[in-house]
Amino acid sequence: MIRFLAPLAIFLAVVGFLYVGLGRDPREVPSPLIGKPAPAFELPVLAQPDKRFGPVDMKGKVWLLNVWASWCVTCREEHPVLVQLAGKRVIPVVGLNYKDKDEPAQAWLKQFGNPYDFSVVDADGRIGIDYGVYGVPETYLIDGEGVIRYKQIGALTSALLEQKVLPLARTLQK
């Protein structure tokens, strides 16, 4: 009996591993930054070049940092979700304008609407590297202590917001 059952068990185990493996998105690499303090920066604010912003300015607040660029196709896809979120005024959303130029970035916001409280300019992508950005758009949920609690690689969807990000933000806001 075991002569037949053993190969069957091995076969099923292999099928199980392959099934789980194929179902995963290889682009979603777990970020080592989760649970760590958000890397510090001080960047000029888009369209207000004399103003500067850094994560320390948000101390005590739970907020979202959304990495975007006018050249990024998926950002365009994600955009309506952010606009809708901004309309609810439940959480501050700061944009990190990644490796972009000011002019097209501002034109993009004018054309499609500006969901951000404000955006900061990371023209050469240095801060992006500090945040481990590799696939724009990316979104970070940062708590009142300045610790990164969640990272979304790729577009946020309303389902993701409702099921994951906002519930987590609400528990952090308490």
Partner: protein
Amino acid sequence: MRGLLLLLFVFCTRHSFADEPPEQRIRQLEEKLRCLVCQNQSLADSNAELAEDLRGQVRAQVKAGKTDEQIVAYLVERYGDFVLYEPPFKATTALLWVGPFVLLAGGVAALLLVLRRRRSAAEAPPLGPEEKRLAERMLGER
């Protein structure tokens, strides 16, 4: 004479270390690191913009006198172990490293078991008195 040779040796090695082009070191580092945009390419091979930026970082840090370990740690801090083509051995990667050897050991054990069983099957049991007489008679008839 010996002292002279030693001196020459020390001089030569020191000289070659000082002159070692960082290009080669940079290239070696870039080949060990994965580009996260096109995941099956190393930083050295990838044309992705991020890879370009990260190559810039590697180069700048080599020039700044950072060691390879420091540079690798810098990238792992930001992008995780996934940037390494050769993941470190820890609890989460133990299966990855040990798994093939466990499978190999299992295979060898199974093979030995089968071989032993087959050998004991091949060794015919000794003949009983009845069979012996029969065999002798058949042989004797020849």
